[in-house]
Structure formats: structure tokens, C-alpha cells
């Protein structure tokens, strides 16, 4: 299905319909929703109610007692998550969140206002979990859980990327991500997942990574990276896999092992860590830093995540370093210590190169590669030829999860400014804690919902367009694997000519390595500035 032209898509009507939202039926528009999960994906991990179903069908083949399952699930979760209960209880519908959501800004659908997306479930909560809602019904904002209501909740739970931008502006910190996460858990009880999430989850369960890369395939991919690096730099990097006794276990999102431009980030990391002579290992088992389980249920997230620490324990490493990824860092930073800790079998991370103690990670023993690299640069351990990146006019996209679920803003910027000469920020309302989502996070990076992704990505793309016009920006840097997959088509659509890179790709391009040959191309095999003729 062809997408509308950008001019067409940008005609957005923000006027809500005449009828109240409870009385306005939700129409499932092609291009907005992702496809249903396949039964096999659910069966692989033992998720309930696997079956063949289709979003477009009238009959979703729900289990006969689906209402009971959903309502019981809801009651259980409001008694296990204070966040959830509180956020369902205290919203005053002030509307401050409304125009903060990228899906609402780019689409105008009122049910994509975070407040209203929350009300979809809140109305059911009122009906079945509060006295006033039970007695007063609609006038108290309560409604029955019908199949139409269920479908509506589904439609909008998969139009939220859990980016938490709304929670930044909410006077009570109500976090729609929290509501979406638990709404998806409830839907998952009924087998109502999407294949773009359930498939990677099943893969991750079996092979250790979302893409389903088997151990030998990973090895092959890295052999190719090494060959390319040797061709470009003259240096043979020699990564090790599943090696016991290494000091550090390094884990990246599998997307960076497989698809451009993420692969160049991976190559960049390979070259950097080789140049340092770091005693580290990759793992084909812990071959996924990301966790699509997080987009199904918190339990599944924990089930997939355990392998990171299990592998660190088995390989007897001292600590863990993680690569450039967004939701991976939401999970690693805010969840994995709680799921798995206390992590007493590892040591407090210390950089073997600079001796820096990473005190902020002393409990869960995991550090972000940007924290690691920034420290190297600060201590003068790396030599750069910034001019090799002179063809790039760079801006930086803060990934939602790393921004609002961690707060890492300066480290990547410090690195970028040390490896390239041309760096310009997008407008302040679109970066750092106010950053806009790529529009494809939280497992919505499928192709069948492309219109939704392009709409959701409009605010981000529009800010890039601003700096592209003003400063001639031609490269969008990011530290997230979903970004690296989602932003290139987004740029092609809204801001043609702007490409996407990971930060460590630029690091490696500028990095002067011991014994390297005269470089003529960058890691992508494109000529370096001034080398076009060679």
C-alpha cells in the first residue's frame, strides 16, 4: 500500500468529532495498525490463547471468558503496581499532555491524546474496580467492556511508543507508558499481541536475540565486519565470542549486527575496543541487549533479560558493558537490577584504561558504552582526526528511553563534539528530556503500520528539517537500534538527504589507530572528505 504524499499527510485536522469519544466508534485504518501475532510465536514462549486471528476480521476468536480474564487481570495489576492504580485514579484531564504526543501531533486522532488513550482503559477500570463507576455508569465516565471497547484499547495500545514524553509534562507525573505497558499485558492474556513484537520475542527466547541469529550466523556476520574493517583501515580486529575469563562482557542490540546503518555502529565499536586492547568478549547467547519482552509483559521482559547476567556469571567476567540502544537502556537502567539483583557475582565497573570507577553503576555493574567512551576521551586516551567526519553536518536525536528513563544527555554530545567539527542542536523543545520519539518505538517498527510511523515521526523529522535548512545538517546521529532502523525511512519521507548514524560509527571514523593504513573511505566504504578521487 502506497503512503500518501508528505503534503497530504501533513494536512492534519485537530478538531475532535462532534460526537463524544465514547459514542464515536473506532475505525481501524489500514496503515495505522500492525498485524496480529501468529500462534507459533506465542506458543514458543507459552503465552496464553495462541490462535490464528486477524485484526481486520470482525471475530477476533476471543476465549469465551475473555471479559473475566481481562477484568481479573486488571484487578490484579491495580493491586500490584502503585503507578498503575494511581495513574488511573488521579488524572484531572487538564489536557497538558494532549499536544505532547507525537502520534497526536502527527495524526490529530483525539484518542491519541495521552489523556484520552488513558481514558480508554480508565473507563473500564471505573466500571469494574470503583464503586462510583459501577453505580453511576457513563455519567461517572465508566463503560462496559465490550468487544468494541477491547478492540479500541488494542488499536491505541499499539499506537503508543511508551516514550514518556507526556509524563514529563503531567503535573502528577502520570506516565502513559505505564498504562500502555499494562494494557498490553492485559491484551496479551487474550493472545492479542502483534507479530512484530511476538515474533522477535520468540526468536529471542530460542536464539538469544530478536532477529533469530544463530551462533554461527553471528560469527559469520562479525567475520564480514572484520574483513571490511581490515580493508578500510588495514587493521585486523580479533573479537572473541563466549570467552570465559574475559574482564568485560559486551552486549549490543542484535539489530546492529544485521542491518545498515546499525552494522556500522557495531563495526565502530569493534574497532574502538580493539584499539584499546580491551579484554572483553561478545556472547552469541547474550546476543541481544534489547528486550521486546518489555512490550508484552513485565514477566516476559524478565524472562528474556535474565540471560545477560546468566552469561556474565557463566563467563566469569567482572562487569558488563552495553551498546547503543534505547529501550535496552530503559530496561537495563530501571529494571534489571530489580529483576535479577543483587548482582554480587560481578565487580564494580572500573575502566581498565583510565582507572575510572563507575560509581553510578556500582550496584548493577553495567555501564553504557557512551559513558565508557566519554571517559576515555576526557582522559586523553583516544586520538582523533576530526576532519575525517568533515563531510558530516551532524545533529543528535536523543532516544526517548535513554532521555526520560535515564537522563544521559551530555555523554553522547561530548563524544560527538570530540569526533566531528560540525554539530548543531535541534530546537530545545525537541531534544534532551523533551525529545520526540522516532515514531516506531515499543515494537511498532513494522511495515504495515507505516502511515502511523510516518505520522508519529513527523515532529522528530520536522525538527531535523529545521536544522537541515538552517545549518545544512545531513547526518542524524542517535544511540538507539530502533532509531537506526526507523529514522532512515522517516528521513527519506520527510527530509530527503539526511542520513542516520550511530555515535560509535563516527568515533571509529575519526579514531587514529595504531598501525593503520592511510584511510581513504569511512566505514561505509564511502570516500573520506578530500579523498574523493582516490
Amino acid at each position: 500500500m502506497a503512503n500518501p504524499k508528505p503534503e497530504e499527510l501533513a494536512k492534519i485536522d485537530y478538531q475532535p468529532p462532534k460526537t463524544g469519544w465514547m459514542d464515536t466508534p473506532t475505525v481501524f485504518k489500514p496503515g495505522i495498525f500492525p498485524y496480529a501475532c501468529k500462534p507459533k510465536s506465542l506458543e514458543t514462549v507459552g503465552f496464553p490463547n495462541p490462535r490464528q486471528w486477524s485484526v481486520k476480521d470482525e471475530d477476533w476468536k476471543l476465549p469465551p471468558n475473555w471479559q473475566e480474564i481481562f477484568i481479573e487481570g486488571l484487578r490484579e495489576r491495580v493491586s500490584k503496581y502503585r503507578s498503575f492504580r494511581l495513574f488511573l485514579d488521579i488524572c484531572v484531564r487538564c489536557g497538558a499532555c494532549a499536544d505532547k504526543c507525537h502520534f497526536f501531533i502527527g495524526g490529530g486522532d483525539p484518542k491519541n491524546m495521552p489523556v484520552l488513550r488513558g481514558e480508554l482503559l480508565r473507563s473500564v477500570y471505573r466500571k469494574y474496580c470503583t464503586t462510583t463507576g459501577r453505580i453511576m455508569g457513563k455519567i461517572a465516565g465508566a463503560r462496559d467492556l465490550t468487544t468494541d471497547v477491547l478492540k479500541e484499547i488494542w488499536y491505541y495500545a499499539f499506537q503508543c511508543t511508551e516514550c514518556r514524553r507526556c509524563s514529563l509534562f503531567c503535573p502528577y507525573g502520570i506516565d502513559t507508558a505505564e498504562i500502555t505497558i499494562l494494557a498490553r499485558e492485559l491484551l496479551n492474556l487474550l493472545g492479542l499481541n502483534i507479530e512484530w513484537i511476538a515474533g522477535p520475542v520468540a526468536n529471542c527466547w530460542l536464539t538469544g536475540n530478536h532477529l533469530g541469529l544463530q551462533p554461527h550466523t553471528i560469527k559469520d556476520a562479525f567475520d564480514m565486519f572484520c574483513d571490511d574493517i581490515e580493508t578500510i583501515t588495514g587493521i585486523r580486529v580479533t573479537p572473541t565470542f563466549n570467552r570465559k575469563g574475559a574482564e568485560i562482557l559486551f552486549v549490543i542490540p542484535s539489530g546492529s549486527m544485521f542491518a545498515d546503518p546499525g552494522t556500522f555502529t557495531c563495526m565502530g565499536e569493534l574497532l574502538l575496543l580493539h584499539e584499546l586492547g580491551l579484554d572483553y568478549t561478545w556472547s552469541t547467547f547474550a546476543s541481544e541487549g534489547g528486550d521486546f519482552g518489555f512490550f508484552t509483559t513485565n514477566e516476559m521482559a524478565k524472562r528474556l533479560h535474565a540471560k545477560i547476567y546468566e552469561e556474565a556469571k557463566r563467563l566469569k567476567v567482572k562487569w558488563i558493558m552495553g551498546g547503543e540502544c534505547g529501550h535496552m537502556w530503559r530496561v537495563w537502567h530501571q529494571y534489571h537490577n530489580t529483576w535479577y539483583g543483587p548482582v554480587d557475582f560481578l565487580e564494580e565497573p572500573v575502566s581498565p584504561i583510565t582507572g575510572t570507577k563507575f560509581e553510578n553503576a556500582k550496584s548493577n555493574k553495567t555501564i553504557h558504552i557512551c559513558e565508557f567512551t566519554a571517559d576515555l576521551i576526557k582522559h586523553g586516551k583516544l586520538n582523533f582526526d576530526k576532519s575525517r567526519n568533515d563531510n558530516l553536518i551532524v545533529t543528535f536525536h536523543d532516544s526517548c528511553n535513554v532521555s526520560r528513563g535515564m537522563g544521559m544527555f551530555e555523554e553522547p554530545r561530548y563524544i560527538i563534539q570530540n569526533v566531528c567539527n560540525n554539530f548543531y542542536e535541534m530546537p530545545p523543545q525537541t531534544i534532551r528530556e523533551q525529545t520526540f520519539c522516532c515514531g516506531s518505538g515499543a515494537g511498532l517498527n513494522a511495515s504495515e503500520n507505516m502511515e502511523s510511523r510516518l505520522r508519529g515521526g513527523l515532529p522528530r523529522a520536522n525538527a531535523v528539517k529545521y536544522v537541515a535548512k538552517k545549518y545544512g545538517v545531513n547526518m542524524l546521529a542517535c544511540i538507539c537500534a530502533i532509531d537506526r532502523a526507523a529514522l532512515p525511512p522517516l528521513m527519506d519521507y520527510w527530509v530527503p538527504g539526511v542520513r542516520v548514524t550511530g555515535v560509535h560509527e563516527m568515533v571509529a571514523n575519526a579514531l587514529i589507530c595504531k598501525g593503520e593504513k592511510k584511510r581513504t573511505t569511512n566505514l561505509r566504504g564511502e570516500p573520506l572528505p578530500g579523498m574523493e578521487g582516490e
Binding site: A10, P16, G46, R82, L86, F169, H333, S363
Partner: protein, 330 residues
């Protein structure tokens, strides 16, 4: 529908007072019984709700980080919007509760042809909200004069500051003016802004109408209708000393005022107005962003089924060996 329902609900409340007090002479019910009941429902209700929330675990530490994290000592952190310590959290919460920090960030997205999106700062909701809550607080504090004899000096100071401009007789309180204006603003934005109108429910209009009516009856009583202040004080002092008396001939407007306030008190614990207490418990605001430095314990954490390395190696052993990858079992 919500707006009409709420409007008539408040009208009905006023009619009830007319019938009850004027018609049926139930002065004791409206002057003593209902206020007592309302006060205790409010107190117990709020405590119950807070305890109910408090009993629910906080499984994960999920602060919304709104500034630079603490990592390297040479990187300037934002210890308030992204607190690492309990002190930082305290300050963040103080900013949130006292100054509505998050609402202060508010922007308004605008789409122009191009497309060009822009996000201008907009402080109206913040200002209106702040004005409403603070004047409400001051007015409430001023009302303590009805519950103390002699009247504490601090209340007199507040009164004199509030009437600083010495306009009119009785002196016009600035807060009364701002309060009515702020409630009106909060109502108007709900009606005028299409998106906000679309999301508004009866439970959003009802407290606004109720609070507006409370304000209006208060203003009428103070500035326009002659009410027996001595009699009212007798009644309120009777309430706080648990020796309730109902003086004769207090104007009906007082009973309306009192009944609406009682309704607000009763309504409070079962409504969104509980955001007053809830904001303190919000896990995206009241937790430190130190997850990697200090473990957060989930009280209901339970072991889960995982795919072990052993199972993985069993699945792929031959392929791993063929690729030269080390294995546990040959």
C-alpha cells in the same frame, strides 16, 4: 452531557438546602449533622485512599528523568529534575507540589503549512492552576477565624495582607477576586479549547461548578447580603468545641455555602480531587534515579522460567563447534 448534568447537580444541591432549611426547618441537620458527617468522611476517606495506595507495592523504580543523570564527576548533573539522592527527590517534590514544576514546562504545539511545527511556551494553565490552588489555600486559612477564639495573630496578618488595598466595606480580599477569576478561567478553558472539551467528563465540571458556587455564596455573604457573622461564629465554635448550637436567623445563604462545602468534603475522597494526596505518591516523581547504584526491591518479585545457556547450547552445539565457538560440553 457532563456539563449539563454537573450544572443541575449543583443546582439540585442548592434546592435541597432551600427545601431542607427554609421549608422543613432542618437547621440542625444542615448546620451540624451534615458538616460533622462531611468532615469525618473527608478525613477518613482521604486517609483510607492514601493507605489504599500506600499498600500497593512500587515494583519498579521508574522516575521520569528530566535532566542530566549523575555519571562522571566532570559532567554537570541536574540534581533536581533528575535526582540521585533523597535530598534531590525532596527538592523535586517541593518544586512539583509548591510550584507545579511540570506544568511550568508546558508548550503549545502549532502546525503551519510546510509543514512547520513549533512549540511555544504557554504558561496560562500553570498560572491559572497556581492562582486557583494558592488563593483557595489562603481563603481556607482565613476561614480558621471561625474556629478560633481569640483569633490567632497569624490569621489576622493574612487577612490584612489580603485586604491590603483597603477597597470597599467590608474590605475586598484580593484572593476572593483571583479565586473567582481562576475558577472561571479553568472552566472556560474546558469549554473553549476543543480538545479539552472533548476529554472533559461530568466529574471535571462538577467540582468546578461546586467550587465556583462555594466561592460565589461566600462572596455574596461577605460583600452583598447581610449575614449574621456573630451567629455564624457561634455555630462554628460550637462545632469545633463539640457543643453544637444552632443560632436562629442565620441567612439561608450561609446554609447553602456550608452545604456546598460539605458536599465538596464528601465528594473529595472519591474523586479526582485526590490528586492532592496522589501527587506525593507518584513513582515517576518521588523516586531517585539511582537504579544502577542502589538496588530497588520488588516485594512480589518471583522466579520466572528462563531459557538457560545449557538449553541454548544443546540446541546449537554442532553449529557452534563448526563455527569454532567454545562449548561447555564437547
Amino acid at each position: 452531557m457532563g456539563i449539563i448534568f454537573s450544572f443541575f447537580a449543583v443546582i439540585a444541591l442548592i434546592v435541597i438546602v432551600f427545601i431542607g432549611v427554609q421549608g422543613a426547618n432542618l437547621h440542625y441537620l444542615f448546620g451540624v449533622v451534615i458538616p460533622y458527617a462531611a468532615f469525618f468522611i473527608f478525613l477518613l476517606g482521604v486517609i483510607y485512599r492514601v493507605l489504599q495506595w500506600g499498600r500497593i507495592p512500587v515494583p519498579f523504580r521508574i522516575p521520569t528523568t528530566a535532566g542530566q543523570q549523575k555519571s562522571h564527576p566532570w559532567i554537570k548533573t541536574n540534581p533536581i529534575d533528575n535526582p540521585f539522592t533523597a535530598t534531590g527527590v525532596f527538592i523535586r517534590m517541593a518544586f512539583e507540589v509548591l510550584l507545579f514544576r511540570s506544568l511550568f514546562r508546558n508548550t503549545k504545539a502549532e502546525l503551519r503549512d510546510g509543514p512547520i511545527l513549533s512549540y511555544g511556551s504557554t504558561k496560562w494553565l500553570w498560572l491559572g492552576g497556581l492562582a486557583f490552588h494558592y488563593t483557595f489555600l489562603i481563603i481556607l486559612t482565613r476561614h480558621l477565624r471561625f474556629f478560633f477564639e481569640p483569633i490567632p495573630g497569624v490569621i489576622k496578618i493574612i487577612e490584612s495582607l489580603d485586604g491590603f488595598f483597603q477597597v470597599g466595606a467590608p474590605v475586598l480580599y484580593l484572593t476572593d477576586l483571583i479565586f473567582i477569576a481562576a475558577v472561571t478561567f479553568l472552566f472556560l478553558r474546558r469549554v473553549v479549547i476543543p480538545q479539552v472539551r472533548y476529554i472533559s467528563l461530568a466529574q471535571d465540571y462538577f467540582p468546578l461548578f461546586l467550587i465556583f458556587s462555594i466561592g460565589l455564596t461566600g462572596v455574596l455573604m461577605r460583600y452583598f447580603l447581610k449575614t449574621d457573622v456573630v451567629g455564624i461564629k457561634e455555630l462554628t465554635m460550637g462545632l469545633v468545641t463539640f457543643k453544637p448550637v444552632v443560632p436562629k436567623d442565620i441567612n439561608i445563604i450561609f446554609y447553602i455555602h456550608l452545604f456546598l462545602v460539605s458536599t465538596l468534603f464528601i465528594y473529595f475522597p472519591m474523586s479526582k480531587l485526590m490528586h492532592m494526596a496522589g501527587v506525593f505518591l507518584s513513582p515517576t516523581r518521588n523516586l531517585a534515579n539511582n537504579n544502577r547504584a542502589e538496588m530497588h526491591v520488588n516485594p512480589w518479585n518471583y522466579p520466572v522460567k528462563v531459557h538457560t545457556y545449557e538449553e541454548y547450547e544443546n540446541d546449537f552445539r554442532d553449529k557452534m563447534k563448526a563455527a569454532g565457538l567454545p562449548v561447555e560440553k564437547e
